[in-house]
Amino acid sequence: MFGLDNKDTRLLLVVAVLTLCAPFILNPFPTDSAMAQFNAGYPDLMQRFVIFGIFAIGFNILFGLTGYLSFGHAAFLGVGSYSAVWMFKLLSMNVVPAILLSVVISGLFALLIGFVSLRRSGIYFSILTLAFAQMSFNLAYSVLTPITNGETGLQLTLDDPRVLGVSATADGSIPVTNLFGMEMRSTFEMALGPWAFQFNAGYYLCALILLAAFYLSIRIFRSPFGMMLRAVKSNQQRMNYTGLNTKPYTLAAFVISGMYAGLAGGLMASMDPLAGAERMQWTASGEVVLMTILGGAGTLIGPVLGAGFIKYFENIFSKINDHVLHSWFSFMPDGLEDFVVFIIHPFIGKGWHLTLGILFMLVVVFLPGGLVEGGQRIAKWVKGRKNKDDSASATKTPAE
């Protein structure tokens, strides 16, 4: 289907089902239960999962296929966000032109940076991209404040000179982002017994774009172009002596992944019209590197998993506090309860970084291929057990 082979079609369908049913899947616990803390099915976080998924998918096209490790990809995300917010300020609150502009501008920016950085390879390339991104961040935070609004981030105001649309709504507030009239923040809620599920228009737009981005990434992976990119990673020398010019291949991959980052940035701004400079900081670039490696670089689904993993910890674990812990363990005798809370305390709330750091180490030590390898091992183990059962029963039967 869709020009994909069976395996890829299955993967795409699985991802489609997962993203479209995310409001259910991510909210497994009843709203009032103690475990509701772990629910992730609210619009903002779901949007973030999907948007960072797009970012990581794009990054993986560069890093996973060509092996070029960019440490400055957040710059494209940031540029995308700024472009989108400027579009909202100047043109229209419709997200379509904003997203288009952010993809185009970040593509051009990637072309420029890629053209220079790709003159070097290996760590020298990484440091060049890092240097460009840090320059962008430092300037955006300070000297470029008229364009970026510096520390606070670029926001909408009540006096934006919007060409198509009004500066302020009748009741004196800033108009909201929309897709041809459908407000991105509008949410449909469904209560199902003790459960509550939220269906957000913005999330579904992001989800559909993620599916398109994912589909495109599969096509790229399976195309001759994708094969050439893998060949670049494998042996550039042989590429050159096979009559292939590696530079445009890597540059194309760089620009494509920069456009993915811009798309993610534009979507972020469309969901929440603010573009902060720290989106371009090296830590943000490092984050997408970690997402990709954590999930499994070079695999199709890995980066999306990695993005979800990190964003989940950032948003869910950081919100667990001692109060919540006490409410979970209140069934225990007092002394024991305090002890358990004391033990867990360093790892939650303000300690969420610690937990994430430990998990990075565990994953990379025990699952060299990232989370995808974890999944494969589980699948193998399940299959193996089934086979063993089968063979066990097969050997048993004659014995009886």
Partner: protein
């Protein structure tokens, strides 16, 4: 199908009650049931405490969280009641807010506007928070204030000192109790005049982002009004750790006062470096060289150690104040945690009480009712003397403290001493002051 701007968990709860569990799932849609975002319909109300828990301001965030928990305890009738007893309004009964038990959720801003908004959104969308408060930097406060305006919840700013928070970026749903750069300048100027005279040459080192700029502008204007000359204004990168190359030129610039418009780690390092370079022992133009740190905080003073001795600055509040309100707060905070509260803790405690009181007086959690109750509200007993929440820009006008690094501290908390309490009238400015111009409050948004 209906559309609503943000989650309405309160409604969902009643929806859940209406349903009869799994056997008979009820699909409930929020139609016109809610009058505003996250209307608390159950027996409790949830507040969102959004503070930096990781990153350079984590300790301030931790102190803010302590104060919030204390405030919640007091609102729910626990503890000794703290400043609720000294507060001029006696509406709060110690039975929660409007009889609803106060619950809270916490989040990590990471001192990044993106992360802060994500965290605030999760409080609004997932936890049904009806008010968001916190923050330890102006960028974050402004970003979250904007979000709360869009979402239709109240934002009670924490530690944010930029003029912009209630200046060009002010919002109808946002309120600031903390003082600002202009007030620092206005409070410091007379003291500096008395101490150092009117013939001085000031050299500014300024953190290169919006907060730094507004403070630099405020202090330069205030000191120039005294007759001081501003020799140079130098911007330093936020990421700078070693300020030696910025301090060194001061030596030969002919300046005799160094103004450090830095906060947090930047301030600790720039002050340490300035002292290292022997600036304090220097005599320029026949006068002793002086250093001024316009925005002081005890936590920062601790980081700079002995270097703060004798250095002047301004602060919103200090635990050594002897008024009834401050004493009550220090007592209940100190008894619970074993050390005195910081100014960040004080301001967020006040903000929580002020919000609760406003709801109580308005008789509703509706943000627009709360805004109305807070605008032009005058109160006393919260440690800063008589205070006005001005309706035009949602800024509190109250006394500002000028403090000095103590020469002989008796304990690790006893680092600053109050030199002067500048009365509110002296730091008050018209709402249309040029430093606060541009931008408008807009109208309150209840999310309906």
């Amino acid at each position: 199908m209906s559309k609503s701007a943000f989650s309405r968990r309160g409604v969902l709860k009643s929806g859940a009650l209406a349903g009869t569990g799994l056997a008979l799932p009820t699909i409930f849609t929020a139609s016109s049931a809610a009058a505003f975002t996250n209307n608390p319909t159950g027996s409790s109300v949830t507040l969102g405490f959004n503070v930096p828990q990781t990153g350079p301001y984590a300790d301030e965030g931790a102190d803010e969280l302590r104060a919030y928990q204390l405030a919640v305890e007091h609102l729910n009738g626990g503890g000794d009641g703290g400043m609720m007893n000294t507060f001029s309004s006696k509406e709060l009964q110690g039975n929660g807010i409007l009889g609803k038990e106060v619950k809270f959720v916490t989040g990590d801003t990471q001192t990044k506007s993106d992360a802060a908004r994500a965290s605030a959104k999760s409080m609004i969308e997932k936890d049904g928070a009806v008010m968001i408060t916190g923050g330890s930097s102006s960028g974050v406060a402004i970003a979250v204030q904007g979000l709360c305006q869009e979402a239709g919840v109240i934002f009670m700013a924490g530690l944010t000192h930029s003029n912009d928070t209630t200046g060009k970026d002010k919002k109808a749903n946002g309120f600031r109790h903390f003082f600002n750069g202009y007030m620092s300048g206005a409070a410091l100027a007379p003291v500096l005049k008395n101490l150092y005279g009117t013939d001085r040459n000031a050299y500014h080192l300024t953190a290169d982002y919006t907060w730094g700029w507004t403070q630099e502008e405020s202090i330069a204007a205030a000191t120039e009004a005294l007759g001081w000359n501003t020799v140079e204004k130098v911007r330093t990168p936020l990421a700078a750790t070693d300020f030696s190359s910025y301090i060194a030129p001061v030596l030969n610039s002919g300046a005799d006062v160094l103004v450090l418009n830095h906060y947090g780690g930047n301030m600790v390092n720039s002050l340490t470096n300035a002292v290292q370079f022997g600036l304090r022992e220097k005599v320029v133009n026949g006068k002793n060289f002086e250093i001024v740190v316009p925005l002081y905080s005890r936590l920062m003073a601790k980081g700079a150690g002995a270097n703060v001795k004798g250095i002047h600055g301004s602060t919103n509040w200090h635990w050594s104040l002897q008024d009834e309100g401050s004493q009550a707060f220090v007592r209940s905070f100190g008894t619970k945690y074993g050390f005195p509260p910081s100014q960040a803790a004080h301001t967020v405690y006040c903000q929580t009480l002020l919000y609760a009181d406003a709801v109580q007086r308005a008789g509703s959690f509706n943000p627009c009712a709360v805004v109305e109750a807070l605008e032009d509200y005058e109160f006393d007993g919260l440690g800063n003397g008589k205070t006005l929440y001005r309706g035009e820009d949602h800024q509190c006008f109250k006394d500002v403290l000028v403090v000095r690094g103590k020469e002989n501290p008796t304990s690790e908390f006893d680092l600053l001493e109050v030199v002067e309490v500048t009365p509110a009238a002296q730091v008050t400015y018209p709402a249309d002051h040029p430093m606060f111009a541009g931008g408008a409050l807009g109208s309150c948004n209840s999310g309906a």
